[in-house]
């Protein structure tokens, strides 16, 4: 059987295996196995299969039908009880925090670090008794702050293993992350913007290590927080912040 054409492209027979798999049109398990082997051993075939399936799903979406109204309840009745605690148990955590730390503690700490500078082109962050400089790779971002009075605020994670810097001006906001610990595959770091008296608004999902994020100008008193969220980010914070800064 010719698996591929001489030029490396998929043969007609290959495509017919892929369309058979996409449509579930095989007559024998052996045909399915051949198709699955092709897909698992040939990235080009895998891409074509994805394309055929996306094509069918476009038609499926265009011909969707609302299921019976009672089906949702039937299905939810089959679900096991929640496997993990609710992301946020506000009352419980509130009590814990009240017992262990003064209210607004981090707000005061963040505010104490504020420095007003003009036109920063290099920012240094003291971390682990050493200066970590964010310069060349951030210059483009920092250019949005050019000619502005800039409020610079730094913070570190509790054990000093990562740091974050906020640069806020009337022209824009830049957040720099430094040496954030590697995160497992199930979680990501995520930034939040919280206007004074407002609710957390989800912002960028950011990587571990060094990174930078550009945000719109923020009103004075706005908090920028970093939390650990399920991979891909959340619509609302599910954990306490690992770092927070007030701009």
């Amino acid at each position: 059987m010719d698996r591929q054409n001489y030029d490396g492209s998929l043969s007609t027979e290959d495509h017919e295996l892929l369309t058979g798999l996409a449509l579930e049109a095989f007559d024998s398990p052996e045909d399915r196995e051949r198709a699955e082997h092709l897909v698992s051993s040939n990235e080009q075939a895998a891409q074509w299969l994805r394309g055929y399936r996306e094509t069918l799903s476009r038609i499926d979406r265009a011909t969707s039908v609302e299921p019976p109204a009672d089906l949702r309840a039937k299905i939810f009745a089959e679900l096991p009880a929640r496997q993990v605690p609710a992301p946020i148990s506000l009352s419980e955590r509130r009590e814990q925090k009240r017992r262990t730390m003064p209210r607004y503690g981090w707000l005061a700490a963040a505010a104490a670090a504020v420095v007003i500078v003009a036109v920063p082109t290099t920012i240094a962050v003291n971390q682990h008794q050493r200066a970590v400089t964010a310069e060349a790779q951030h210059n483009e971002l920092l250019s949005v702050l050019d000619g502005q009075q800039v409020k610079v605020v730094n913070t570190q994670m509790p054990q000093g293993e990562g740091a974050m810097t906020l640069l806020a001006s009337s022209a824009g906001t830049v957040v720099l992350g430094h040496d954030l610990p590697v995160m497992d595959q199930e979680h990501d770091y995520q930034l939040w913007t919280i206007a004074a008296g407002g609710t957390p608004v989800p912002s960028d999902v950011v990587p571990h290590g060094d990174w930078s994020a550009q945000l719109p100008a923020i009103p004075e008193g706005t908090t920028i927080a970093l939390t650990v969220e399920p991979a891909g980010g959340s619509q609302a914070p599910t954990t306490d912040p690992v770092m927070a800064l007030v701009g």
């Binding site: 996409a22 449509l23 095989f26 994805r50 509790p158 999902v205 891909g232």
Partner: protein, 215 residues
Amino acid sequence: MNRADTEHSNTGSGDILEFMDRAPSGTGTRAEVGSGTTEYFSGLCQRVAQGDHQAFDSLYTELSPIVYGISVRLIRNPSQASEVTQEVMLEIWNNANSYSASTGSIYAWASTIARRRAIDRIRSEEARTQREDRNFTVDREVAQIDDELMAQVDSEQVRNCLGTLTDKEKQTVIDTYYGGSTYAQVAERRQMPLATVKSRIRSALQRLKTCLEVA
């Protein structure tokens, strides 16, 4: 060059409670991970994998009409289509952590599961009943089914693209996509060589893929 060397501050474990008190779960919007984006669905699946019923409710709202549409079109029995939809949604619940945006859209993922489950159902029914009562393509003209299919399509682009198929291509697509038939069943029913059936389905899907601008 101005340089801003700032003192390091420590803040440590932040207290999100102050703003969480004012932040009910589920509020807020995001530009980067807006509803309907790949990232949004990846995030929903991660939450479902952790047992988040609210996230599953969102997935149900988005996917169940597609799943039910496939099921009822193939099975043609609303009660059995509901059963299959339930099976598919529970499979999505149980396997949410296996969804990867890198392998396609959430819709294609759900459609693939639904099509496989629905076809398993009709083929097991076929084996049991010889399929006499649901062999609709024998009893009805392709043109009639085509009209029904077209009437269901609520996307002008999809309708136009289906309209680009030749009559013979459309016949084989209807038999497989709409009827759930295998290649050999189509060949037998239409009295045409198996190779011809495969060729027409391949050309039809490739034409649709190009027309719908699927990468």
